[in-house]
Amino acid sequence: MIEMETMSKYYGDKKAVSDLSFSISEGEIVGLLGLNGAGKSTILKILGCFLLPSVGRATVGGHSVATEAQEVRKIIGYLPDTPPLYNEMTVRSYLEFVARLKEVPATISDNIAYAMDKTNLLDVENRFISQLSHGYRQRVGIAQALVHRPKVLILDEPINGLDPIQIAEMRDLILSLKGQHTVILSSHILSEITKTCDRILVIDQGQLVAEGSETELKAGSKADFDLRVDVKGDHAPILSQLEKIEGLSRLKTKNMDGFTQIFCHCQLDVRSQIAKTIVDMGGELVHMAKEDGELESLFFRLVKSEGKS
């Protein structure tokens, strides 16, 4: 559904996107993950026919964004980082305007009902947009992108500025679009992107540095990881022995009720050595687990290593 081949984009002399190639199949939800300024919005703007690529080729639904922009615009719904809303209009009148702009034929009422139903806007349909909270404004932004039932939805930072409850609602909304629309979204919040997307494209300095599902990214990496070990007994001699293990660093302890938590960073998988050392030193191993920030550390490692190269 979406193809990008060796696409680059320059702003003057600055290269914002560099030789980017990827493809997205119909019905997939794909997330662009990267730090601020990584080039995510530029990629989405090019797919939304808002910008032209400087080099390379980008197609949506088989149509080139450069030469067949009008055809592409008919099949995409685009939500920029700030929703394009007219404060003086009501939600319904705004969606009617957008539906006509996007060439919805005779089924305007059905389409508006569909968009409002998906985004839970029915209770505010006659309110002026200026009176809506940030969360509702974001929903109206998604509704305008959905109102012509596009094949492809392009969402730039859809959870930007939302509170935790609104984030959860937005996540459910995006997941409910699966299968009906191909969705590409961007975010710099790793935990959210892993919860909503089938596949993640990690972007750094305009380049694709990793690609795959959360599991594939974890499996394919030789990433470092953080470890938490709970031990009973005198932890001081254990700690001094652990410090000698190669590939283990950043050891920290925290005294709990009746046991000690040891936090450490593993460059190599030395978990069996850790367990053996604890037992040899007369300690009791209660619990050992990788910390939740595992993918996060992978993400930082990816963008940092690419940044250095």
Partner: protein, 242 residues
Amino acid sequence: MNKVILIATREMGAFFKTWMGYIIIFASLLINGLLFNAFAIGNSPKYSADVLKDFFFFNSGIGMVAAVFLAMRLIAEEKQNGTIVLFYTSPITERQLVYGKFLSVLCIFLILQILSLYLPALIFIEGKVSLGHMFSGYLGVTLLGAAVLSIAMFGSAVAPNQLLAAVTGASIVVVLLLLWLVADRVDEPFSGLFAYIAIHNHRFNPFSKGLVHLKDIVYYLSIIFFFIECSIRTLETRRLQG
């Protein structure tokens, strides 16, 4: 054509849902009325045709200022608020967008002129002027107003915000306005060229006297289409620039 009307309708709706529209119309009519009483009618006896001519002179000036204020927001406001993205990602051309915007402010300008009709109507009832003279004057004001609207809209397309749009549009209008003064002080061929390009003096005065010349209509239409085309090209190049 449907999308041009769609955009024009929304734009007009937005204009009358904010105070700005009412303020521009109210201020224009108020100043028009004051100038009409103070100068067009004046204290000394005048022929009705001269009163009408003076009314159109003042009305043209007020109309030019109003046109700059009306058009400065057209595209710059969309850029400021980020709503221009909606058009750039919808199946609509830059040409449809620009013509829709222009049509909306032209309609509002015409409403403003219709609301000023009571002043020449007073002259028509109390004095002796022809309907042809009134038609000619309003044709001139409308053509001049439309030309200034297109110039200010170009300013709005070029500038990143409404203030700069107003400054850009007004600067171009003032230059075109003052060219007739420069024309008197330079030699040929510049003298003839500047006099030809000047937007008000030689072009508008015949209309205010009840004279309609085809060359003046062609001139104003040329200015209108030139600046509309410049606005379209400005928006079209945006995709390349980023």
